[in-house]
């Protein structure tokens, strides 16, 4: 049921790497490295800026992919990758969108498991890629049956 969504993508959404959001995110992880929120540390660093933690793109809005309705329970996060062209800078604007990269089914211990691969992208204002990330979500047969109803 996700197979016909392969290749579909969302419209770009403008996000901002907000200073407060970065601080809250770092605090939730228990990561108090001042490079994320202390302005002086940022100015004295190699890139003369505060940077966001590597998993921060998790917080962005990537827009909705038409016809892709994921259940809000029963999903298993299987794999996650981040690829960076350069670090994310606090305060900058990032234009984000998502794409269905793949969907396939495989027999597993709990029946036929579905694997949905979503690719997320973040670009700067000129359209140059800053980062991409891939999430592989595992959807069990039981959950898919509920979805079909």
């Amino acid at each position: 049921m996700f197979k016909d969504r392969i290749g579909k993508q969302s419209n770009k959404v403008k996000n901002v790497v907000e200073r407060g959001a970065v601080k809250k995110f770092a605090e939730a992880i228990g990561d108090l490295d001042p490079i994320y929120f202390d302005e002086e540390t940022g100015e004295n660093s190699r890139y003369k800026a505060n940077l966001a933690p590597p998993t921060f793109p998790r917080t962005f809005d990537y827009g909705d992919i038409e016809g892709l309705n994921l259940p809000n329970k029963g999903l298993i996060h299987g794999e996650q990758t981040f690829h960076y062209e350069r670090p994310l800078r606090v305060g900058e604007e990032v234009f984000c969108f998502a794409k269905v990269k793949n969907y396939f089914e495989k027999k597993g211990n709990f029946g036929e498991m579905g694997f949905l691969v979503i690719e997320n992208y973040g670009e700067d204002v000129s359209g140059a890629l800053i980062f991409s990330s891939t999430s592989t979500v595992v959807i069990s047969e039981a959950v898919r049956k509920v979805l079909v109803k």
């Binding site: 959001a21 809250k24 995110f25 605090e27 939730a28 992880i29 228990g30 990561d31 490295d33 490079i35 660093s45 190699r46 890139y47 003369k48 800026a49 940077l51 933690p53 590597p54 998993t55 998790r58 917080t59 809000n72 329970k73 298993i76 996060h77 299987g78 794999e79 996650q80 990758t81 981040f82 690829h83 960076y84 350069r86 670090p87 800078r89």
Partner: protein, 140 residues
């Protein structure tokens, strides 16, 4: 580039031992990440689910590894690639330890093998990362 002396090869990278995960932290992470899935924050809902209780966001444990990577990278390197596979559930009360091993290092590119282990020394995440020397110019 003046970074010739910066190397991790043949060095033991110290582990990062995190504080035990708390329910408050899961609420904090839910708020910070926008992931309010009830399996992470609603005890009653979670207890009645097949998982029989609240589990931590996988991305929180990946965040621990991200913290660890940034610490290893310091101000000379940045995270270029970061890939993980989630292997086991993490629950409130679990203590996660991050460990890394240098697999390769050449031309200012460092490849690392990553592990997040629970207090029973079981891997909850296996992963790998590539750190790249920060360029002097062309960023801002």
């Amino acid at each position: 580039m003046g970074m010739e002396s910066k190397t991790l090869l043949n060095k033991q990278i110290p582990k990062l031992v995190k504080q035990p995960i708390t329910r408050v932290q899961l609420s904090q992470y839910a708020g910070a990440s926008g992931d309010f899935n009830r399996i992470h924050i609603d005890e009653e809902f979670a207890r009645n689910s097949p998982l029989k209780g609240v589990i931590a966001h996988g991305m929180l444990s990946m965040g621990f590894l991200g913290q660890y990577l940034d610490k290893i990278a310091g101000d000379d390197f940045h995270v270029k690639n970061f890939k993980v596979r989630f292997r086991a559930m993490v629950r409130p009360g679990d203590t996660i330890t991050c460990a890394a091993e240098v697999m390769n290092e050449e031309n200012q590119v460092i490849s690392l093998d990553l592990k997040a282990l629970n207090q029973h020394n079981e891997p909850v995440i296996l992963g790998e990362a590539i750190l790249l020397a920060k360029e002097e110019e062309g960023y801002l």
